[in-house]
Symmetry: D3
Subunit: 238 residues, 6 copies
């Protein structure tokens, strides 16, 4: 049985990254994974929220979909006067994932906000937001160091995310929308370069899954994250 777009079961979609897409942001990237397109912008402010210890920094994320990112137009959050609960869940995940990449003491009293705006959604927008958001964050950190606003780069290491799932009882890496909408089980992993976990979210949407299946999905994700970090490095070390 073949995948809809001809990929092997453990093959990522084509990834295209355009750094600097938004010129005014301290760091920005347009990341495309297959037909999914997310604009990630990192903005730096010289103040931190009240819960942050003095002298330390903070990293947070916001996630939103444009109204016509999907097959059907959806109403804007502001016209419903509420942040979509799905967006709330996702932006908390992205924020936690990117905070794990940063030494808050080295960042000093700066807040970096990563805005992840989905221009087009075709599956995997939350993990694409982490992978792209990391690059925007890294570009902004580099700019802070170059401008002498902080003395050391606060990044602790690469972070990327990918999903895997069980479709028709086969495990598949990096589900596109058509696969995702038929998946029985869906698992998202955020990992570092060493293959260690930062965030793990698994959902048995169509059926329960065994611990063995869960492990197989994590292994698949580990392969995907490794490849994504290689791509991040190409962009950031060129």
């Amino acid at each position: 049985m073949n995948r809809i777009d001809g990929r092997a079961f453990d093959e990522l979609r084509c990834v295209k990254i355009t750094p600097g897409f938004a010129e005014f942001a301290e760091g920005s990237v347009l990341i495309e994974c297959g037909h999914t397109k997310v604009l990630c912008c990192a903005s730096v402010e010289e103040r931190t929220p009240p819960h942050v210890p003095m002298g330390e920094g903070w990293v947070t994320a916001e996630y939103s979909m444009l109204p016509r990112a999907n097959r059907e137009r959806s109403r804007r959050d502001v016209s419903k006067l509420k942040l979509s609960p799905r967006s709330a869940e996702i932006q908390r995940l992205v924020g936690r994932s990117l905070r794990a990449a940063v030494d808050m003491k080295k960042l000093g009293e700066h807040t970096i906000t990563i805005d992840c705006d989905v221009l087009q959604g075709d599956g995997g927008t939350r993990t694409t937001s982490v992978t792209g958001g990391y690059i925007a964050l890294a570009l902004a950190c580099r700019k802070l160091v170059e401008a002498g606003r902080i003395s050391q780069n606060p990044l602790k290491g690469y972070v990327a995310g990918i999903s895997a799932g069980i479709v028709d009882d086969r495990v598949l890496l990096d589900l596109c929308y058509e696969e995702d909408s038929r998946a029985m089980v869906d698992l998202n992993c955020i990992m570092n370069e060493q293959g260690e976990l930062i965030e793990l979210q698994g959902t048995g949407e169509g059926r329960t899954f065994t611990v063995d299946e869960q492990q197989e999905l994590v292994r698949l994700c580990a392969k995907g994250v490794k490849e994504l970090i290689a791509i991040q490095k190409e962009i950031l070390e060129q």
Copy 2:
């Protein structure tokens, strides 16, 4: 090294369940896990949201904390005019978990809403909401069958949830607030009676974690869920 409340590393907190605490709900339970107290109420309505296929049912959940459930008073959501993003994340988890327990065709055109209101929060409120919410759901389903409103009980099997974490490099089951606030890694599992996974959420709040550590935490959770399902059975089969 001992736990703050003297428990073994793989020991649940004391669980106390009061079914029928809210008399008007079709099903209700006050569930106490240590100092955490959650009131779970199941309400049945004869209509379903638009996305549900005709002839099928729906299960959804809402989660909220009373303003003085915690050590500090927090403002009510309504006075901030927004559902707390944390509550949004949790109620999506509880809803997905309890939907996994129900055959929507057998439920027929009914919506069951599980309200999980935290009267006191001392760690583990999201998994306690699933464990208690399942009992409220089961009581409501039983009432529907007894009243002849549906012909077959739509429940597919027991579902419960528990957390485990890594504190001072030791894995611990069922973290209380003091442990949770110092945990490096935190993992929530929702499982069925067969030890299969329904939802899995792991977060490296203080550090990354290896796949081996993740597996150890899942094993610990499986033990806890087994014990919780035994308690659910006692209540429901008495």
Copy 3:
């Protein structure tokens, strides 16, 4: 003609009070009057709103019903993005009533917020909130004195509330929901130990009422408040 639950026309429902139900609040009580259950929590903060004179304190109240407190589930305020107008009216009443019990100069620069959350509503929730809220307030004041945060107890005397009404042309004390929904006239009194009035709200829902009838209802309430204050004393002086 007998009342639905066999009470005499001037008889209170059974009152059950559980102080300390919420362990983190400076003062808390679960008060049950018949099937009505209200959790009252008093929280102390070291700051006052802008309109309060320097050196003085403030007491305020918030009132809310859990979604399944009643025979039908109601939507949460936050999902409608507005405080229910009925809750707004009631929490203003509770706040004014409890402020009347406190010497704001003795309280000093503290705000005490009394959260009254109705877990189950079977009539009389607003007056039950005042009666229970007073105990929570008293427990919090005592704790402030014991902790040396204020030098003198700021309470000026006991305060409690009760309703009376005209049902089938008979005056009845402490209406339960079934009586309340058929009442022609409904009157709520908040009084002190001397039988003096603090708040008085009378409504001719089904018909007008004479000044004589109004006086008879106030007399009935005075009897009820006297008994409630005796119960408050038992709890607070034990």
Copy 4:
């Protein structure tokens, strides 16, 4: 001791009523009591809210203050995204009071909304809203009958409201702002032509009050309502 504006203790402020101030409303009146100015407009719609029995009508009220109605400008409700709790309390009172004047079966399936917008506030705006709102309501009912949209006038009798209070231990009728802001006790009465009560709200803002004092305040209000109904009649029967 004299009142600030030279009135006797039991004397109303000068009342000026301009019917038809808003030309498009089915009924409207600009009512001025001293410096208080309220524009009351009655609007008729051919549908009723869900809770109203088929074939019957409904009367409701909305109350709001213009931002510069008072000595200080206040922010608009919409800019705070919430109905002021005080307005919520008042519009519930006005709605209940005016519903008491109407036979809902005779009104048939119409909703009459009475908008009470305070152009200038100098004390007594809630009772002025009832007194003026009644005239707007009566004008709208008359228009419905004249247009043959209903066959019988649904009004059951006159309704008006007034306040009285205790200032410097003297009872005074119809408090202006300066008196109101110093009042120890404040009582609002809504009554019919027979001197029977429809709504009664008394508040011990500065001190408690005895049942005797309460009765004296009601007697004073009865005198005021009688005079206000005479003025309503002049307008409506001319």
Copy 5:
């Protein structure tokens, strides 16, 4: 062909101005243009928004319609929890227009808010708000000077606004509602005493319009503004 109210094509509606209608505002006016009635109140505060340079002042406007200002009742903004987009557009226009009349350095660190509340709307409410708002602003400025709160009057000159439109291919000045609702083209001008433009908004609602037509409409407006400024002068210089 005659206009509905018998006016010549270039004739203003009857203008009636009642200064001091709202007694507590620093400046106020009830302005009536035909059946359009707008209450304009100017309120002075001793602080400015963050974007204003130190030592300078600010002028802003708010615009709202009472629910029954029009032929049909409309819901209040607060009950929809959003400022009507039309009101947002208009209050930005009024604010910009009146700021053009003020020397912000002479105003010093004061904010003047002009509240324009439409009591009755019969066309031309936005330009009537500017014309009336200017008088309220001028009265407030005069009061500031008289009270010694600023040393020089900050007004730079008169400002007024009027609309013109194309109805049945004829250009008409100062459209009333019936004309406005049939107009193909609608143009609003805010001008000073010298006939110079401050704001210009033209809309081809029913068809496009040529540059020549646009110029003719501007000329017509210039005539109207001249007459309105003469009326403003009468009020302010009497």
Copy 6:
């Protein structure tokens, strides 16, 4: 004196148009005018709002800026729970402008929503939204015809928009952000291919402007619109 980017006073910025940028929308375009980038998506729905006559269609627009579209990050509308008044003003302009291009009878009972999301803002975003929105609209109309959902193309002709302004007393076409922020006068024109006006908005932000100056700005805009329509044609007729 030279312009900051070396353009002649009557020269447009470089325009780049990418049709089909959002693949799921019925019509879409990424339009870049200098550094301004707007994503315009047209979405078709088979229903119309209540005010639209039966058998006719409707065109509406929504406008929003991504949080980091500008030099400073701004908070999202949803986190402030209100549509920015500036966005409200602009989306009304875009909607009116594009409706002028459509024969609503030929469109039949469809609503086309044009979402204009500013990915980067460097001046002229409102007119760029009209120019790009027209292309998205045209692409969607073409798709409706090709799919046989409507029988005739409902477009009546090309529509585009441009701004001009007075900077340092010189008239300039198509202001970029740096020019715009120093402009004394700013004028936006929406025109058709015949050079007729559809919308005209002029603002004297820094000083008043004469009718002659206004005419000169309109002439400049007419030149710009002509060139923009030529570019639209290239895209749509290729």
